[in-house]
């Protein structure tokens, strides 16, 4: 048992080191995230009130698109160099190793994304309540996206073109998006966001318990 936990941390550490060495992947997705947020207000005109209303939604949509882009890299290099076979055939539970990879992805992409979102909220001078709601929904929403996304990534890995990945992830992320936007809207009219937070937490728990198992099963199918 302790050996299995050891491999979890070995895998996590390795993926974090790799992410730090090959920075381009996640830095590009983060820059993409920032650029989309900055581009939107250009099309709204100079109405500050309108921008204030729309920016939280824009931040969420951009987060979705950027996650689609960044998810692609979770398994790509392992698939190309054959590590995926070694992982799949190793003596340890595949679910555990896959979980470590997903967590590493969230740590290197999700957390910077949340921080940038808060900064963006401050730049567009959103009310503190709205920024707080954005923070909470992103904190619960981005890991959910990483988890569900990883299943789709495994299914589409090695196939030509990454469009399919976005087509699979975006519909799946709708519940997360709906509850997050509801929460942000409630916060902007000074109402409670507890209900939405519970829903997002529930979806996250569902993702934590199902996605790693589904991703490992998909991985075995994908390799055969």
């Amino acid at each position: 048992m302790s050996e299995s936990i050891n491999i979890f941390f070995v895998m996590l550490k390795r993926d974090l080191i790799l992410a730090m060495r090959d920075k381009t992947d996640f830095i590009n997705s983060l820059i993409f995230f920032i650029i989309i947020i900055v581009l939107f207000p250009l099309t709204f005109g100079s109405d500050a009130k309108l921008i204030n209303e729309l920016i939280p939604g824009v931040i969420w949509i951009s987060a979705l698109l950027a996650t689609c882009l960044s998810l692609e890299s979770i398994f790509r290099s392992d698939f190309e160099d054959g590590t995926i076979e070694q992982i799949t055939l190793s003596r340890y539970p595949l679910t555990l190793i896959v979980s470590a990879k997903i967590i590493a992805h969230w740590l290197t992409f999700g957390i910077p994304l949340i921080i940038i979102s808060i900064l963006m909220g401050l730049i567009f001078s959103l009310p503190v309540d709205v920024i707080l709601a954005l923070f909470i929904t992103l904190l619960l929403g981005t890991p959910t996206l990483s988890l569900f996304g990883s299943v789709m990534v495994v299914l589409t890995i090695g196939l030509r073109g990454s469009m399919l990945l976005s087509l699979l992830i975006l519909p799946l992320s709708m519940p997360v998006l709906i509850f997050s936007i509801l929460a942000v809207n409630n916060a902007s009219i000074n109402q409670s966001i507890i209900a939405e937070t519970y829903f997002l937490g529930g979806i996250l728990l569902l993702a934590i318990s199902l996605a790693p198992i589904a991703a490992s099963a998909a991985l075995r199918i994908r390799l055969s």
Binding site: E3, N6, I7, V10, R14, I17, L18, R21, D22, S77, E80, D81, G82, T83, E85, Q86, I87, T88, L89, S90, R91, Y92, L223, S224
Partner: protein
């Protein structure tokens, strides 16, 4: 006593029967060479044996247990090495080796210099694996043979890209493993000697076995 049974195996790829009715049994100390022309199904056979892909017909048993039903215990006893090296070029050699040993289930803090000496990569610990030549990367990948507790080794073209010394080194590692009761199945087109170690062989090709 470890035993590996292949019963009536058939492999179909792209509507082509690569081989059929393949049956053999291996016990501890057995060394099996699979040879055959390109595209005759050598790699497919190894992948089927490793449990990566499923055969269209036939069963595979490890210690008289079906490897798909009892895949946990089977994977604990198996080491598969494919065409690809599973080496990360942006990790140093030491980091690669640490990962290999963790994945192989050898976690006690051992001295990696000895392993690197054996595979002929001494004094390179801090180099990035991406800077190594193809042969050196293969050697690094083969270091997983020295850091495993698995009994059954399935090696796909282990001698590729290796020079004479490298080839001899791998031969010795394989013979050592067979001498302590391991089982090795490997593919190659090269003529092998193995110091007179009893070598069985299977020839695949032109749909007949």
């Amino acid at each position: 006593m470890p035993q590996f049974n292949i019963n009536n195996l058939e492999c179909v790829r792209h509507n082509n029967i690569l081989f059929s009715d393949l049956t053999f049994t291996m016990k501890d100390g057995d060394l099996l060479q699979i040879d055959g022309t390109n595209g005759s199904g050598k790699s497919s056979l190894l992948q089927i044996c490793s449990g990566l892909i499923r055969p269209s017909k036939g069963t595979i048993e490890w210690n008289n247990e079906d490897i798909y039903e009892y895949h946990n215990s089977f994977h604990k006893d198996t080491l598969y090495l494919g065409h690809k090296n599973a080496i990360k070029s942006s990790l140093t050699i030491k980091e690669n080796i640490q990962f290999i040993s963790a994945l192989g289930g050898v976690i006690e803090n051992q001295d990696y210099t000895e392993i690197l000496n054996t595979v002929g990569l001494s004094d390179t610990e801090e180099l990035y694996a991406g800077n190594l030549s193809a042969g050196q990367q293969r050697r690094l990948s083969l270091s997983r043979l020295l850091m495993t507790r698995s009994k059954l080794w399935l090696l796909d073209e282990p001698f590729n890209a290796l020079d004479k010394h490298g080839k001899r080194m791998v031969e010795n590692i394989i013979i050592n493993h067979c001498n302590i009761g391991g089982i090795v199945i490997f593919t190659t087109h090269q003529e092998m000697e193995f110091n007179q170690y009893p070598l069985k062989s299977i020839h695949l090709g032109n749909n007949n076995v």
